[in-house]
Symmetry: C2
Subunit: 192 residues, 2 copies
Amino acid sequence: MARTKEFDPDAAVDKAMEVFWANGYAATTPQQLVEALGIGRGSLYNAFTSKRALYERALRRYYERETTRLLQVLDGPGPARERLRAALELLVAAALDDRERRGCMVTNAAVELADRDEVIAHLVRRTFERQEAAFRSTIEEGQRDGDISADRDPAALAAFFLTTINGIQVLAKADPDPRRLSRLAETALSVL
Amino acid sequence: MARTKEFDPDAAVDKAMEVFWANGYAATTPQQLVEALGIGRGSLYNAFTSKRALYERALRRYYERETTRLLQVLDGPGPARERLRAALELLVAAALDDRERRGCMVTNAAVELADRDEVIAHLVRRTFERQEAAFRSTIEEGQRDGDISADRDPAALAAFFLTTINGIQVLAKADPDPRRLSRLAETALSVL
DNA sequence: CGCATTTTGTAACTAGAGTTCAAGAAAGGT
DNA sequence: ACCTTTCTTGAACTCTAGTTACAAAATGCG
């Protein structure tokens, strides 16, 4: 009854995500998107309405795809303390693998857009809350097990870890030094 | 021998700094700059060459003007531990006062540009190093005075504090919650 | 098969970004 | 008073961002 799409919209969002992730929102052009997605301008706008709308979808995709690794590590097996360590080490390793220094797309969105765009801000907050909640439940678990001293407020500790991972993203943008980042993570863990 | 400038270039850089600080680099337009500086387009480019060059000057100005408060607190009088607390509280208070949530211009520059522009990255690194050094010498002083336990590596602690303040900037962009930020700072201090 | 529908590629459009330029105005030295 | 220099204003210019429009092509239903 109607012509079928020749490209996979899901795959296209993935590619758009890569472009926005690497360049940020404002610095990304329709031209770059068209080239990266391998489709015509017409198809781009027919399928995704606007640059802004595509960015939002890309950020949601990032939230679903790239943000889960951390949660998996935190919700995984093993002593709570070890999981927290593994989580921070994961972040550090990812930052060092990231040769183009794109950082974390949510951190980037927070800094570039959260103050100007309520929808983006909301998405960012949701990501942060999920991460914070994962930190928190891991910490609480550790406290029940006696793995982590119980005289600290788990909510405060979770917010602190959230801050730390965002701080690591910023640092790594300017100067991805392996030794420094590792010691950093180590020091943050010593708060427990 | 030549006509004198009718505007104060130093004051103009200050105004440009405000605009870039609030909007970031890519999202700032010549039009906004012209309006904010109150000069003609011709004068703008005659005096500052390009948007990029003006941004660089604005960021340098930020480095000189807005980045010193932290250092003053850290280098000030009083017990080292108290100075570290005051420094973090200063950051938190500034974030809460910042109704437009511009955050820290250096943090913003790090995230938006440090991966693409080596000159900006260098400036960011310099700022970070200066802040890190101030944290470090305060910590070392505290360790000599017995104010801070001496069994920790001051360099690692300093890097950790640098991360924390950048993390706070990111968090505050998305959700400037007073209670959370204060407890955050408190928790970070408990690492000592 | 033909029809309604949605896709695609390409051209077109508007607006504004980022910069340059020309003509005149202030300043100071001679 | 003039000359040189540097400033100012404002228009002008090029280029591209971001979007839309259009004609042709594909699809499946009746």
